[in-house]
Each structure stands twice: as structure tokens, then as C-alpha cells.
Symmetry: C2
Subunit: 271 residues, 2 copies
DNA sequence: CGTAACTTTGATTAGTATCAAAAATGGTGG
DNA sequence: CCACCATTTTTGATACTAATCAAAGTTACG
């Protein structure tokens, strides 16, 4: 899978989902200095403890954020799709607190950090969009804390599968039927805080229960209604409802097809 | 515990830990419209699904971020200390994806959301500081994902206790000996993804093993060296190393006293 | 000083991890 | 195009951590 478009067009598309860019904004983005490289699966894009001198953007493929505990256990904290910025999380922090790796062979754009930092001053609208992007990432981190902290194995895995389906659909990187799950079961396990063996068993149980279908790595969610319940999935945390010129149609569709209102929570925890 | 200083001075102090504010920046902050209110424990400061019309800052007391699963289980995703902004996470997002509540009776400052948004355009340095603050929050979220996903019960709890100790010390809200743990064991459980019963057992085992000491809610870490190992704790994710005029002394001290170098990880996960 | 909230303890169960190994898949070079 | 090897997925048997259920102490508070 090689990348043909102008790399910055993907970024423009992404930022346009958060704010309305004017011509100058677009011109500034197109003028950003950058290089593009194809990297193999596993290539480190950012390393814990280092000061990234550049910001990276996924053009094609996937990347993931990861840390290793003192015991050697790995926790995956995020998966990134084409169009995602990888280093807004580090843009203003001296030392990276986690690793970022390519999940599969991917095309990556590299932009000098200073160029982006300068842009945050020169072009407030772009700054705002990048800020929003970082906030949405943070929201996903919060949901993952909940996923791993308070849902059982079945719900955790189902939740991750739902999240992928929706994000890929929004990124227009999947057909309506399903998608190619880009991760091994071991990586899945590290994303949901389980063992690979257990992930395997749950995946099959989801399959035999008629919630999902799998052929090789191709996965489709067969019964969205039941799946949403099992996964305890609501898409609010993805913040897909921001101003998205030109994406409203898609948004509508997804809301009808799959995001039918779950009954509202009105729990009032004692404190 | 009532709050006597000018509310904005706390914010200035906080932001100064990330950037160098000039007189105009300080003046702009002091001129921010705001109100102060004392709220009881449990008071909701932000509700999931709502659009917060104001940004809140903890002046005294504590606040926490929280979500409830469909099954009714609560996950606490962050604890905030005096000086922390609560709504930078929502500043540019339409609907809040989580709840924020006061942990104990607290003094809270409310700033109109637009006033802060305007400031991000008018005063880039302040914008940058607020952005950094949000990024540090995100870093803490990542660490919590790892805590809850890949550490066992003992390490999880120990880690949280270490985090508190360090953050409180930096906020100069604790003496050198220890601190008042502001949470019930049930809340602790919800922060680390365990049951209160199990938290209780682990706390005692940490006590009998001579790692911590407890009198009522007052907690002190007796053996930092062993505690750091048990907790798998490193403070990098707190990003206390940003430019901090006037706080270098404290930082030095903490590095000598408690943050002695752990042996570096050089694990190279297969991918 | 009485009551609600919180902490502590015990006994049992459930959910995942661990260990081990076989089957399937994917890629590579001959 | 096939044989081979590494990786990934699947399965089984057992161990263990943490959850659950239940209830007694303890502390905080009006």
C-alpha cells in the first residue's frame, strides 16, 4: 500500500474535521516542510525518554502507543489510523513518556517540530484544530482507562472492535461490511490488558455467539445492536460530532445505522 | 479550609511552571472574569453529555474525573489538586465525555469558557501553557491505562500512592513526612480498577511490610526505595521537568531524595 | 450519643493467567 | 510452485489473583 496523494492533503482533511480552514491556513499547511518514508512493522517512531525533533503523521498503515512495565509487560495505549498526528502529544513536552511504533508497514510523514510549533503561533485556527486533536486523543485515553479498569474481558475486546469499526469508517478506510483488524491477538491482548490466550477464547465466543464474523484478519460486526450492548459502547468519547464540513452525511448515516440511542445512564453514584 | 489568596494567583503559579509569563500575561490572567464557590463533596462540576459553559479551577480541596459503565461500575480517571484546571479537557469539545466531581469540600473558581478561549488567541504564551497542561493530563491518562491494564493489585495501589506523594509535594500541599490521602478505599478501588475489599487487604499488606504507615487517612511512605520498586514508579510521566522558574530547588531535592535513578529499561519488544 | 459511612475480617467463587503443545497461516528462497 | 520455517492461532489442563458475599468493628458526624 503506497501513498499517492500530497501528504499534507490528508492532514488538511483531518484538521478540517475540527475547524474551518481558510485558504491561508491551507497554504500554510501545504508549505510545511516534510519528508515521507515507508517504515516496516515495529519501527520506532518515538522513543520513551527521547526528545522528538519532528512530528510524525500516519499516511497509510497504522501506529500504536506503548509502554513497558518494569516486569516487562507491554501496555498498548492507542492505535492510530491514517491521517492521525502522532506527536501532538509530545509537541510541547521535553521528553516523550512513551513509545510509538508502526503496527504494520506504513507510510509516515515527518514534519520538523519547530515548523509545527511556529504554526501554532502564526495560525491560530490550525493551532486550535491541533489542540482539539490532542483533546480527542485524551478522551480516548480516558475511555481506555475505563475499558481496562472496569469492563470484563468480553466487553473490553468487543469495545475495541467497535471502536475500530467506527474510526475506520470515519476515516473511510473500511467498507460497510467490515475491516481488516490490523493487530495480532497478542497485540490485542496488550491493548486490553489480557493474555493472548484469553483474547483468543473470547474472540471465538463472540464469533460463535453470532456477534462478529472473522475470515483471516478480516473482521465484521454481524449484530451491531447486541455488540453495542456487550461492548458497553457509546461513541461520544470519539467526539465525532465536531464541526465537520463535508462529513455530515457520513455522520448521519452512522448515527442511523449503528449509533442508535442507547438508554441514557442516570446513575447517581453516591459521590 | 477556606481560600484567601487571589484565585488567579494560583493559576499564574501553575502556568508559570510551564512557561515564562510576562507582565501582560499576568495582567490578563488577573483580569479574567471569574467567581469562586465552595462546594460540598460529591458536587458535580462537569457532567457527561453537557456543554460546560465555564472552566473550573480547583483552589482548595480535590476533584476527580469519573465515568460509569453500563453495568454501573465506576472508573475514576484522574484526581486533581489545588491549582489544576479541570476543563481544559473540554475547552474546545462540544460535549463532555465524562463527569467531574469534587472529592471533598472544595473551593472552586469558575471562569467563563469564552474568556479562556479568547485568551488562547490573544495570549499565545498562556495558550501554550494551557496546552501543555492538557498534554500532561494526557500523559497521566496513559500511565493510568498501564497501571490498570498491566500491573497487579499491589503495584497499582502503590503506584497511585507514589503519584499522590509526588504531586502533593510539588503542589506544596504536603509536608515531607506524608500526606492526607483524600480518598476513601472505595474511591481508591475505583481509581485502580479493584474492589474496595481487595484494596483494604493490599493497603494493610503494604503497611505490615513496612512500606507505608497509616494513621486514619494520614499516609506516609516509609521506604521510598522499596516502594518505587513495588509500584514500578518513575516520575517521567508527570513531566515535572518543564521549565519551572523558581521551582528548580524543589525539583533537585526530589530527584535526590526520592527519584534516584532506576535502572534503565532497555527492553526491545519484538514489535 | 446515635446513626451512617467507612474499614476490616473471613469464607467461598469466578474469571483470567499460566503452562504446554498442536494446528494453521504467511512468507521466503530454491 | 512447493517445501520449509517463523509466526500466529487454537486448544486443553491447572493454578492463582481478585471478586463476591456476609458481617463485625471502627470512625465521623449531626
Amino acid at each position: 500500500m503506497t501513498f499517492n496523494l500530497h501528504p499534507m492533503s490528508l492532514i488538511i482533511r483531518k484538521l478540517s474535521s475540527y475547524v474551518t480552514l481558510n485558504d491561508e491556513d491551507r497554504a500554510a499547511l501545504l508549505a510545511l516542510p516534510h519528508s515521507v518514508r515507508t517504515v516496516d512493522a515495529g519501527t520506532y517512531l518515538v522513543r520513551e525518554g527521547e526528545t522528538p525533533g519532528r512530528c510524525t503523521v500516519v499516511l497509510s498503515g497504522y501506529a500504536y502507543r506503548q509502554k513497558i512495565t518494569g516486569e516487562g509487560a507491554r501496555q498498548i495505549m492507542a492505535i492510530h489510523l491514517p491521517g492521525d498526528f502522532l506527536d501532538l502529544q509530545n509537541l510541547f513536552l521535553e521528553l516523550s513518556d512513551h513509545n510509538v511504533q508502526a503496527l504494520i508497514r506504513s507510510d509516515i510523514a515527518f514534519v520538523p517540530r519547530e515548523a509545527l510549533q511556529d504554526m501554532t503561533v502564526a495560525r491560530p485556527t490550525i493551532a486550535r484544530a491541533m489542540w482539539i486533536d490532542a483533546l480527542v486523543d485524551a478522551s480516548m485515553f480516558r475511555e481506555w482507562i475505563m475499558n481496562v479498569g472496569r469492563r470484563d474481558a468480553r466487553a473490553r475486546i468487543a469495545h475495541l472492535l467497535c471502536e475500530f469499526a467506527l474510526r475506520l469508517q470515519y476515516a473511510e478506510a473500511s467498507d460497510a461490511e467490515g475491516y481488516i483488524l490490523p493487530m495480532t491477538q497478542e497485540q490485542l491482548a496488550d491493548a486490553v490488558g489480557l493474555t493472548p490466550v484469553h483474547v483468543n477464547r473470547i474472540l471465538r465466543s463472540l464469533t460463535t455467539d453470532g456477534l462478529i464474523k472473522r475470515e483471516r484478519r478480516y473482521l465484521s460486526i454481524v449484530d451491531w445492536d447486541r455488540m453495542r450492548v456487550v461492548a458497553d459502547f457509546t461513541d461520544r468519547y470519539l467526539h465525532l460530532d465536531q464541526t465537520r464540513p463535508g462529513m455530515l452525511a457520513l455522520q448521519q448515516r452512522s448515527q442511523n445505522d449503528r449509533a442508535a440511542p442507547m438508554q441514557e445512564l442516570h446513575l447517581d453514584p453516591t459521590q
